[in-house]
Amino acid sequence: MDRLEAIRQSTLFTGIEPAQCEVFLAIVHEQEAKPGEYLFRLGDPARMLYIIRSGTVHLTMPIAMNGTVKEVVVQEARAGETVAWSALVAPFRFTMSGRAGTDVELIAFSTRELQAAIEAYPDAGVRVVTNLAAVIARRLQVMHAMWTRELQRTINVTFGEGAGA
């Protein structure tokens, strides 16, 4: 799959005409990562946004276990998915870490260049921003459901099963 096709089939650029994609194609940076290699770390400034071309990226959070802190995989992203969306949303800092789960090929965009392209080509830009909102909304909905389920379990354990019936 060539770069243009990879971009068009990604969650960030879905629905964009090939001609409009050319604008974004001009600013892509290709990147590769080996399994276990970190693409970004929690707390770091977010300056790059990634589309996964192939492989799996693990999104991790630090969890304390037996007095040691381990990076636990809380989400997995696969080919076509967008990761590191913090690069386009204030305060532009990562709230998770991302590391390659397998050999990974990525299409990377710098925040500055992507913002400039969105502003310069508003028709395509609106579609990109709308798609980005869908990506963020999806993650939010999943995390919200997971949090609600864990809250229900905590209620069941704290107040007894009958409390949640």
């Binding site: 969890i63 276990m65 037996n66 040691t68 381990k70 636990v72 995989v73 809380v74 989400q75 997995e76 999806r138 909905q141 999943v142 995390m143 459901a145 997971m146 609600t148 389920r149 864990e150 229900q152 379990r153 069941n156 949640g164």
Partner: protein
């Protein structure tokens, strides 16, 4: 006549001997069984019974258990997002961390 009496006596002795041998053998086995201590039934360690193993293995298994739980929860949450309802929200609610 004497030969017939001798044959009957011989048969009686043989059968009585066989009967007594079986009887004593049975009692002996039953005595030994009664003296044997009852078998101690130890509960098998659960699949993730990592507490008895090394610290490194324990941590690795704990990590895998947590990630398995999160992966399962993420799938169930995705199903809720695709079809939001009370049922899909609470599907598999009893599958707590550590329950398989």
């Amino acid at each position: 006549m004497a030969l017939e009496v001798f044959a009957v006596v011989a048969v009686l002795v043989l059968f009585t001997g066989m009967f007594l041998a079986l009887l004593f053998s049975y009692r002996d086995i039953e005595d030994r069984r009664a003296r044997r201590p009852a078998a101690v039934v130890r509960p098998a360690a659960p699949l993730y019974g990592f507490e008895a193993r090394s610290k490194e293995i324990a941590e690795e298994l704990m990590l895998r258990q947590i990630e398995h739980h999160l992966r399962r929860e993420s799938l169930l949450a995705e199903q809720f997002v695709m079809d939001p309802s009370q049922q899909t929200l609470r599907a598999g609610e009893d599958l707590r961390l550590g329950v398989h």
